[in-house]
């Protein structure tokens, strides 16, 4: 029967000893099984110290380039039997977010991190995990998909998102960002939320496009309103002006600041007519920005 508490206490005492704060722990009081566990853990500390857990090394290709062994090197895995790099490029051709570069993620593979491909798009790095072993796209909706992705972020902090996909016809995918795998306090409830998949499962191009729209939206230019300056605006300026005034009057009734309540409540037909005239003048090109400012000031001072 093992006793984690006793073993943990021994480990803590061993750490104190290594920090120069106490004696070597005795294991005599432990059962034979716990003694073995404790000794194993202490030996492990001795082996591990001096290792560098986050060191990356060159890939085998980089180490053997220009040597006679290079040609004999079998290709690195996983380049997933289900998805070739050409197939992936074909699916991403419709992405329309500027140049896209797709390459085999040898750096992650040499670091022992699961990532099949690396994509550079819209100034961001995305890593692709091809999950041959998953039974279908439904499996991507489970929080396990998040767990699959989190080691990538731990090793490669510059990764904007991990695309976890199954090699079906659409390359169904879900994109995980660095925060999805963390426990977070949700607003406004204040509740603690665990790892979750907040995005829908989509074909890979759609999944990536949706994610890029989230982290790097492309804003379209607001189209310019072109009026026929001779005929004036095609809308009823008077109706619009009166509606705008009535909204302000209603807001003024609910205002708590006395001056605001008084000022907005005083707006009426006279102001609506003046603003309607101003809209028509501006649409005809008869009032520029400075003129609009001056007339609004005159209207305010006259009220």
């Amino acid at each position: 029967m093992t006793n984690n508490t006793e073993v943990e206490a021994v480990i803590q005492q061993y750490l104190r000893h290594l920090d120069g704060e106490g004696e070597m722990p005795s294991l005599d009081h432990l059962s034979s099984e716990d003694r073995e566990r404790a000794q194993e853990l202490m030996d492990s500390l001795q082996v591990a110290r001096g290792m560098e857990p986050e060191a990356s090394r060159p890939s085998l290709e980089q180490l053997l380039v220009d040597t006679k062994y290079f040609e004999s090197l079998s290709p690195s895995h996983p380049v997933s039997e289900g998805v070739s790099i050409d197939e992936l490029r074909e699916h991403l051709a419709s992405l329309q977010r500027g140049p896209i570069r797709v390459e085999v993620d040898e750096l992650a593979q040499s670091a022992g991190v699961r990532s099949n491909y690396l994509i550079f798009v819209a100034g961001h790095r995305l890593r692709i995990q091809v999950r041959d072993e998953l039974s279908g796209s439904d499996a991507l909706r489970s929080p396990d998909a998040v767990v699959m992705a989190s080691p990538v972020f731990g090793r490669f902090h510059d990764t904007a998102g991990v695309v976890v996909l199954v090699p079906d016809e659409d390359l169904s995918s879900v994109v995980i960002d660095p925060f999805d795998s963390e426990y977070c306090i949700e607003t406004p409830t204040g509740k603690l939320k665990g790892p979750r998949v907040p995005r829908p499962v989509l074909p890979i191009a759609d999944a990536i496009l949706s994610f890029l729209d989230e982290i790097a939206p492309v804003f379209e230019a607001i189209p310019r309103l072109d009026f026929d300056s001779a005929a004036g605006p095609s809308f009823d300026a008077g109706t619009i002006a009166r509606h705008a005034i009535s909204v302000l009057v209603d807001n003024g009734r609910r205002a708590r600041i006395a001056a605001k309540k008084a000022a907005w409540g005083a707006l009426g037909e006279r102001e609506a007519d003046a603003i309607a005239d101003l809209i028509i003048a501006a649409s005809r090109g008869e009032a520029d920005d400075a003129t609009v400012d001056d007339r609004l000031r005159e209207l305010a001072e006259a009220t």
Partner: protein, 230 residues
């Protein structure tokens, strides 16, 4: 893991299906070299010794030496040989970097000696070691031990949150004190120690379920290889 049937003219470690084994061997060699060369760099720099050799250079030399070893002469596992080569190459690199350098106090030439032959320098006019190297452990045992630590590292990445991972890495691998780590994560040293102890037990339990953790390496004799061929 036993020796594969070697493709004619191709090194056994470069044979089809052996890539993963070779990656593991190189991972362990890398860590052996890093341990010997010591932590002298920031994360984003290579370790560079006087004279310009780096850990990656030593790793490359070690791998080429390993692949250059004739399979017909092998009397041990490739894994054991790999550790021996990595150790020797790393020590050679340090010796090259220190050649001709003298102790500023005694004026004696500085030498590098293994830990189990360390010479106390107090009151001695003999050579003073500048580096006490891990020694004495059987190379096969060291390969297994380092490989197991790499499996633990991967489990830590997959199963620990950011703070737990940081505590584990800093104490387990980088040898920092509990108090130091506690200051960084906003906890007392005692609490850091508790967390580390709990983590290490948890990871060990997970490791026991991982077949990679319990992998062993054996040397298949020529007779056994020929028997498999028939």
């Amino acid at each position: 893991m036993t020796e594969p049937n070697a493709d004619r003219g191709r090194h056994p470690l470069l044979a089809d299906g052996e890539r993963e084994r070779l990656e593991t061997i190189v991972d362990v060699m890398h860590q052996v070299i890093l341990k010997i060369l010591g932590h002298q760099r920031r994360e984003d720099e290579e370790r560079v010794l006087v004279g310009g050799a780096s850990a990656d250079d030593v790793l490359q030399e070690s791998l080429i030496a390993l692949l250059g070893y004739s399979p017909s002469k092998l009397k041990e596992s490739w894994e054991r040989l790999a550790v021996r080569i990595a150790r020797n190459k790393a020590i050679d690199a340090i010796r090259s970097a220190t050649r001709g350098r003298r102790d500023p106090v005694t004026g004696n030439e500085i030498q590098v000696v293994p830990l189990d032959r360390a010479v106390s320098s107090s009151g001695s006019e003999g050579p003073r070691p500048i580096e006490l190297l891990p020694g004495g452990r059987d190379p096969e045992a060291e390969f297994t031990a380092i490989h197991q630590e790499l499996v633990l590292r991967d489990l830590a990445r997959d199963h620990l949150d950011d703070r737990e991972r940081r505590i584990f890495f800093e104490i387990h691998y980088r040898g920092r004190s509990r108090a130091d780590v506690g200051r960084e994560v906003g906890l007392t040293g005692a609490r850091v120690g508790q967390i580390y102890a709990e983590i290490t037990l948890r990871l060990r339990d997970l490791a026991r379920e991982d077949p990679l953790y319990s992998a062993t390496w054996e040397h298949e004799t020529d007779e056994e290889i020929r028997r498999d061929d028939t």
